[in-house]
């Protein structure tokens, strides 16, 4: 397989996924892992695509749909492939008053412990007068939970509520 990473971003409207994937299907492409989510009224797509075509051929396949839907898109040839899942063994939940640097501080502390972030989702909720930041992180680390907790502890003094828990994945 010769995967390309296709990124599409634009104002959200119904039918984006259907129209984009239809164009790829008609062009003989295979889809791999994807992430699609609405962020701040925009719709964002990151998608592994392979059709055996050149980057140019793939781009000319997507361009008409992207134009119609007013999406910006980008293609990058990528290394790697399917079946490379890594199962997270830790979950970190964060919430606190929204303030500059909250993500950098939390992820910086985790990185020092060799924590590999596999998935991160964050949101700003509440109202604009009193915004609250909420974040969940799933990741993998060899480090013991006590070490992660110790690394995150200083953040409590800044009124950032951080909670680490081990994930025991059930196989049954």
């Amino acid at each position: 397989m010769n995967w390309q990473m296709l990124t599409l971003v634009g104002e959200d409207q119904p039918g984006i996924v259907a129209r984009v994937t239809d164009a790829l299907y008609r062009g003989g492409c295979t889809l791999g892992e994807t992430s699609m989510i609405r962020l701040g009224g925009n719709f964002t797509i990151m998608m592994m695509v392979d059709g055996g075509q050149s980057e140019q051929a793939l781009a000319s396949m997507i361009a008409p749909v992207a134009d119609q839907l007013q999406l910006k898109f980008h293609l990058d040839p990528m290394h790697g492939g399917l079946h490379r899942h890594r199962v997270p063994n830790y979950q970190v939940r964060v919430n606190g008053a929204d303030r500059a640097g909250i993500v950098a501080k939390v992820t910086g502390a985790l990185a020092e412990c060799g924590f590999n972030i596999l998935e991160l989702a964050s949101d700003v909720v509440g109202d604009s007068a009193k915004p609250v930041y909420i974040m969940t992180i799933q990741g993998y680390a060899e480090a013991e939970i006590e070490r992660l907790e110790a690394a995150l502890k200083p953040l409590a003094a800044e009124e950032i509520d951080v909670h680490v828990s081990a994930i025991e994945t059930l196989i049954g």
Binding site: D123, E168, T169, L170, G172
Partner: protein, 175 residues
Amino acid sequence: MAMLEILQLPDPRLKEVAEEVTRFDEELKAFIADLEETRQAGPAAVGIAAPQVGRSQRIVILDCSKTKKPVENHGHLILVNPEIIEWDGFELGREGCLSVPDYTGNVIRAERIKVRSQDPQGENHEFEMVGFEARALQHEVDHLDGILFIDRLVSRRTDLFQRKVYQKGSKKRDA
């Protein structure tokens, strides 16, 4: 004893509702021994259900006594015709399945359950299970009803709104 073949998605037999066990004989015990051997041979599974090896009968093996981080458990259990008779609370947790290789995902399960079941001799038992063991039993009983954990996946964003989910869920239960 013999290793049995584990059915994998998209085998349609995984979607069938399994039959009740009515004969508690030597053949049943021999099958359970094979099922246990099959469970142990794979990747650290805490449970296995008969439909996963193509036998459409209500039989489950559960063993949550060897998790990396110890959890409350009843040791090694053979559950014949298990039935969940009480549920309480909700909890999000990550699951994978011998029948769905190379994939794990988040599922909401009841936090505490009461289970009624029979043993291989046909004797009746009741168990109260919490947390991880309760989750494992619910995963296995789903197999008996033709349901896989991927039928119950929740969106990754559900994590962020977990508290809301809890409240809605518990209100429904109370009603």
